[in-house]
């Protein structure tokens, strides 16, 4: 597989949220606005790129039986770094994302890529795979966040487009499920017509 294909597969064809349905907890939990979605997506991208690179570098040193716990420790270390850095420099975003920052550890996307890709492939492909998948995840979260923000408060990234109150339900919990459901349905339709 060419590296470009390796990079772009995370966006549409194997998008972790829309197609593989992985990492749905943060995808639904933090996407009350486009900015929050983007922040969460970039934090996950950093963890994904770092853990994929480290796992592919030391894959030959890890005994097969303890590989899952070792991967989890590697991932958890990077999550702690994100947690501390974000708390220091972006306290507002940290407060908005709250519980979901430590929960990147159990995001199936991160462990899934470490196990399915980085533990078998070389360093360069693993790094690109992590970057592609991470940005695909960030893309999905930003899109969902933008849709919810637009329908809920008539704005995207805080810039107001529509005057008035908007549909509050899209900012609240039910809107996350319904919004993601229709986004996936839309994507399925586009894929079918291609």
């Amino acid at each position: 597989m060419s590296q470009l294909k390796n990079f772009t597969k995370g966006f549409i064809k194997e998008n972790p949220v829309f197609v593989l349905l992985l990492g749905l907890c943060p995808a639904l939990g933090v996407t009350t606005s486009a900015f929050n979605g983007l922040g969460m997506g970039l934090a996950t991208t950093f963890v994904l790129v770092s853990s994929n690179s480290v796992v592919s570098l030391i894959k030959n040193q890890i005994p097969d039986k303890v590989r899952i716990p070792s991967f989890i420790v590697i991932i958890a270390s990077f999550v702690t770094i994100v947690q501390l850095v974000m708390e220091a420099f972006l306290p507002d975003l940290f407060a908005a994302l709250g519980l979901f920052i430590p929960l990147i550890v159990v995001n199936c996307v991160v462990l899934g890529r470490a196990e399915a890709f980085a533990s078998k492939k070389d360093f360069k492909s693993s790094l690109i795979d992590g970057l592609g998948m991470g940005l695909g995840f960030a893309f999905a979260l930003t899109l969902l966040g933008a849709v919810r923000e637009l329908l809920g408060s008539g704005a995207i990234f805080g810039f107001s487009f529509i005057q008035g109150d908007g549909m509050l339900v899209f900012v609240l919990a039910p809107g996350a499920f319904i919004g993601l459901g229709y986004l996936i349905a839309l994507l399925n339709m586009i894929k079918k017509t291609e």
Binding site: G29, L103, N188
Partner: protein, 190 residues
Amino acid sequence: MEYILIIIGAVFVNNIVLAQFLGICPYMGVSSKVSTSVGMSGAVMFVMTLATVVTYLIYNYILVPFGVTYLQTISYILVISSLVQMVEIILKKVSPALFQALGIFLPLITTNCAVLGVAILTVQKEFNLLEGVVFAIANAIGFALAILLFAGIREHLDLMGVPKGMQGAPVALVVAGILALAFMGFAGLV
């Protein structure tokens, strides 16, 4: 009274799945049949309660005295994953019947963010040990309630004519959204 408030709050008002978005993966993954949902709910309740007790002790008697609370994430996930392994081994030996029922769900629980989430929330809300246990059990009941309702609806959904683009995940997500809407009716109860 305090405990009743914790229970009502965790089961209905801040339902762990429908209001807090924790444990969505098993919620979507194993909810196609009512029987598998029952097994998953049992396993979640078991592990969640145990994990909350163990992580509470670790936080208050190891992490806080040594001033290393920033290691919370790493230590919690390690403890939970080894706990799940241990429970699996013990259950296999002590109660093969229970192992048969819960067995395949146990490994999945390590990556169930609800377990880690409840353990972290217990610290954030500054519960004591007993309150933490009640909180964990109540959250597990909330998870069971949400997944059983959802599985019941999904079994009926299989018999319905769903438009092509909406089949599978999209319609399930919309159903979950409507369930969440229904649970919003409990807001303000506590």
